[in-house]
């Protein structure tokens, strides 16, 4: 193989592989921390009655809080 052909082959190979080192465009999707872990920095707005990081306490808090939307538990029906 002549030097010219070899150089041409090498340049073609370099051109063909040029995109292989390209980084993926756009940002990667970030992972999200679960809600039961609470807010960072002990938010002053956090509801009392549960401890951040305790999943079962958080779920219990959610169920308890949900009852605030239940008028029959807030003001029981009169007989």
């Amino acid at each position: 193989m002549s030097m010219g052909k070899a150089a041409l082959l090498l340049s073609c190979a370099a051109f063909a592989l040029a995109a292989c080192g390209e980084k993926t465009a756009g940002a990667a999707k970030k992972s999200d921390a679960p809600a039961f872990q609470g807010s960072t920095g002990a938010s002053a707005y956090s509801a009392s009655g549960w401890k951040a990081g305790d999943q079962s306490a958080w779920e219990q808090q959610m169920r308890h809080r949900n009852q605030g939307q239940n008028e029959y538990s807030r003001a029981p029906m009169q007989p």
């Binding site: 872990q37 920095g41 809080r65 009852q67």
Partner: protein, 210 residues
């Protein structure tokens, strides 16, 4: 815990827009973007009904299916969220959503369409819970504060219920049984028609239809 769900009782909604206001105030939602809105049918006619609509956090969300950059994700509680740093604002999700939930701020020259914005079930986004960055992009993260969505908690007539799907369905079922009608509520089949793993068939509330 079941999936987080919303349901709006059209028998109770009085179109006060308290849920819309609560949402906008809680999250500093920009002008022109309505994460939640009240839709009224037969306005001014007998049989008028209003229903509060936002992202329904679908179990098989079409927005997730069509997003070309895969910016959506679902939390363990079933809340559908998205990463605004990945969103390219193409609007495909808007066409796919049957509820018109995805919103696009148009705050630039020639009505430039920004990143998609939608109801987060007050669960923020992928930034650190309760951080300033999260608030700037997605609003408050009330779930991480041990609270439920502001719209549902603020609803004066308790037409809008939001929270653990099992609890919400129980509250609604009891209401329907007491008043004797309303089991035909819109969206019930979609939201609660297929109970999650195991459990008894408690999805459809029973009651005399109106």
């Amino acid at each position: 815990m079941a999936r987080m769900k919303f349901i709006c009782d059209a028998e109770r909604c009085i179109e006060c827009n308290g849920c819309v206001t609560a949402c906008k105030a809680e999250h500093d939602v920009p002008w022109g973007v309505n994460r939640r809105r009240v839709v009224t049918l037969n306005d001014g006619l007998p049989g008028e009904r209003s229903v509060s609509v936002a992202c329904m956090h679908c179990s098989d969300a079409p927005c997730m299916a069509v997003c070309p950059v895969d910016c959506f994700y679902r939390t363990d509680e079933g809340v559908v969220l998205h990463d605004k740093d990945v969103c390219i604002g193409c609007g495909y999700c808007s066409y796919a959503c049957p509820f018109g939930a995805p919103q696009f701020p148009s705050n630039g020259t020639f009505g430039l369409r920004g990143k998609m914005d939608k109801c987060t079930f007050c669960a923020g986004g992928p930034e650190a819970n309760g951080s300033e960055a999260e608030f700037e992009k997605y609003g408050r993260n009330r779930l991480a504060e041990g609270k439920l969505p502001a719209c549902a908690e603020m609803c004066s007539t308790k037409a809008l219920l939001g929270g653990d799907g099992d609890v919400v369905s129980e509250i609604f079922r009891n209401r329907v049984l007491v008043r004797g009608k309303g089991s035909e509520v819109w969206g019930w089949g979609t939201a609660y028609g297929k109970p999650s793993t195991g459990g008894s068939q408690q999805a459809k509330p029973e009651g005399k239809k109106s």
